[in-house]
């Protein structure tokens, strides 16, 4: 398991692995929003939590098809299917690697991008906390989507169509926690819900992803 994780991380960090692509996308979204809605700082600080969450979600989405597509093409997945490691563990590791290379950098970068959008100072801790709790769910759900579409040529668009509705609950609770934090309200309820979704998804969805992958490899 450790070997697979290290391998995935190495592949992702190397040139052409797409590391930093999500981060750059996140930056661009954050920079483009003021051009779209105007530079008034009150308006920006009001919509900042939502924009940051949406940017993180889209940046995550952008890199989803990389989770499995390359391994599918060069036959690594077939090897993994024959390996003693159960498929459920393999997809969990894949999701973890995706989170470490995409989700975690987003969480770390979010406070700096929040500066650009003039987020109220009370909002920083809830924002980071909600992203920290929510992005693992995005990676795990995304791995499920990637597993479904892995056998389809040019499945990227279908992948987003399938995954975006699944992202709705996470986005609602995450953005709500960040928004409440920015307004200085109590954030524990949405954060608990977010943590619940993430842990439920981590516990259950790898079984679905593994089942789907087995069907695709068959």
């Amino acid at each position: 398991m450790k070997a697979l994780l290290i391998r995935d991380l190495r592949l992702a960090i190397r040139a052409g692995g797409g590391f930093g692509l999500g981060l750059a996308f996140f930056l661009i979204v954050t920079v483009l929003v003021p051009f779209g809605v105007g530079p008034q700082s009150e308006l920006l600080s009001e919509i900042a939590p939502g924009i940051l969450w949406l940017g993180a979600l889209l940046a995550c989405l952008l890199s989803l098809d990389r989770i499995l597509a390359l391994d599918w093409e060069d036959g690594t997945l077939d090897l993994l299917a024959c390996a003693p490691l159960p498929m459920e563990a393999a997809v969990s590791i894949k999701a973890l690697a995706h989170w470490l290379t995409t989700g975690l950098p987003l969480v770390i970068a979010a406070p700096f991008f929040a500066l650009l959008l003039n987020l109220p100072s009370a909002g920083y801790v809830p924002l980071v906390l909600s992203l920290l709790l929510g992005t693992p769910a995005l990676s795990v759900i995304g791995t499920f989507g990637a597993a479904i579409t892995v056998g389809i040529k040019r499945g990227g668009l279908l992948l987003s169509l399938l995954v975006l509705p699944l992202y709705v609950p996470t986005l609602i609770y995450g953005a709500e926690a960040a928004r409440r934090g920015a307004q200085g309200l109590e954030t524990s309820t949405p954060l608990f819900m977010l943590a619940g979704i993430t842990s439920g998804v981590i516990a259950l969805l790898p079984f679905a992803s593994a089942a789907v992958l087995r069907v695709n490899i068959r």
Binding site: V168, M193, R218
Partner: protein
Amino acid sequence: MSLWEYANPVKFMALSGRILPWAAWLSGICLVIGLVWGFFYTPDDFRQGSTVKIIYLHVPSALMAINVWMMMLVTSLVWIIRRHHVSALAAKAAAPIGVVMTLIALVTGAIWGQPMWGTWWAWDPRLTSFLILFLFYLGYIALWAAIEDNDTAADLTSILCLVGSVFAILSRYAVNFWNQGLHQGASLSLDKEKNVADVFYQPLLFCIAGFVLLFVVLVLLRTRTEIRARRTSALLARERMG
């Protein structure tokens, strides 16, 4: 004699062929009675005027939009557990009907909402969760269309249907949390003493029965078409081989 006998396509075709004309006539009769009665022989509502009559399309289609998904969930489970092809094909056949029902519910709701709420659309929990349901249907249909191999497609869409159901329910409660509603509470339920006033209630029951039967007719028809399409492609494949 058990339900599983009809997993055999030949038996299914025979039975559905016999049921189909009856169900079609019954559905037509129910719909005509319900709609004509509802549209022309019920009084206008005290406050809502004649717009209240859109209930005869809105409520049954909204009911069916959810129930079609439930039916797809059951047939998907049957496919995953017992691998009856007819079941998978029925799920495939039901999805486009479900998407149309969802669309009817959304559109009639918007048409009613414009004069009553003063807006075509509001980000109300019920409206939003229906929109999300609509997206789920689209994803499901797109996945069926994208995969060439039939069994793989059936497997993948079934699992998507299971996972999607969980997330659809989650979203339903999440949007509740996110915004308080404009939409009124349930106007029909079995455990309530008083539902909608009787004058409106009786034609509504006919409409609901008509919609359910219409769905049965359409799903049987579409499943039969799918089975025939399967047979044709099997024959063609055999011809190529021989």
